[in-house]
Subunit: 96 residues, 5 copies
């Protein structure tokens, strides 16, 4: 899974019926130190994540294996909000 | 899912039978500000997207999970037309 | 799906039994203007594509969803021969 | 599968129910000589790997095919601890 | 599928039970002219490939579709030994 930060949201009225009701957030990959990198993309939110939060994103076919996205045409889903990241016994990220 | 813009279309007469009837569009990844990047590729249209529109593209196995592409040999499908994108409480893209 | 050009072929005698009978072509990604880029790779041909032709390649799990590659250990398959590509109402590629 | 080194861990309280009980480690791809490269990401540990160990990571849909992650929304799982790597008949990595 | 060359092997004692008995080789992507590029990774051998040989590697979910890796947690498998590669009617690689 990827570390990512929620940086926005998008609205789509004309869309595949199975996507109805899903919150579509704009996310960007992040380092363990919460530095953004790579190209922003769209992920379905399944955990109530808010803008600015560091989250865990699952990509590819496994994005269909949450309770809320089963058999949906989605390839990126937020499956967790990160509380903390530890490296070398040092906390490098702590949710505020 | 990826933000992408429809930039063209392609025609293929000799093709896998399951692809018959699908509209094949040329798309390119785009930033939330509607700037193109990366290499153009082919996506099946399932929502009636037109050239120039900003869309949401699902890639990989989940491209087979729309109502129109079930069990088809497709790995990129347009599943939504984007109305707007908001970042930092500011609208950075609005469908015209 | 990706735009690609057939640039060669390969022969493999010792291989997974499910691959027997498949024509293995060397392809390379191409732009809508038929310019090659990226690293050549191997794709199973299901449409009778010939060297030099611009084709449509499906990658990943969907490569197993053609009539000829069902449940095979393949991750790249040629599923169509491209007749033409249009961008900005201009034909940028036309099969000769 | 990828060679990777465990470089940290992360905690997520609010997460998809199927992830409960999984140890979430931060890993980074490594060369056969144990040099790190690429962007750190999150992998579920299924073999009791510890920080600093060189491991084998499976990515994508196959991450759901271990005994401990079946049908879970995971796309990266540690499936083995590497004892040694040999290249040109020379041991280039040996677990200490 | 990718052209790759076998450049080494790895041993893992503590691993997912489904991986028991699989030979784990270190491979690296190669051009049709047998020049190596990219980062070495681990592939399960299903065809008796030896170090130095040019092989065909299937990646992703299709790696589970050989007779020897069904439903295993593997994402890269050697499925063929390449005998020759032809480009522009010229043999650019011939197995010695």
């Amino acid at each position: 899974m990827k570390i990512a930060r929620v940086i926005g949201s998008t609205v789509s009225t004309v869309k595949d019926p199975k996507l109805t009701g899903h919150k579509l957030l704009i996310v960007q990959h992040a380092s363990p130190n919460n530095e953004l990198f790579g190209d922003p993309f769209i992920a379905v939110d399944t955990v109530g994540a808010g803008e600015g939060e560091l989250v865990m994103v699952v990509e590819g076919s496994s994005a269909r294996y949450t309770g809320k996205t089963e058999a949906s045409a989605v390839d990126a889903v937020i499956i967790g909000i990160l509380d903390s990241i530890t490296m070398d016994n040092e906390i490098v990220f702590q949710k505020s």
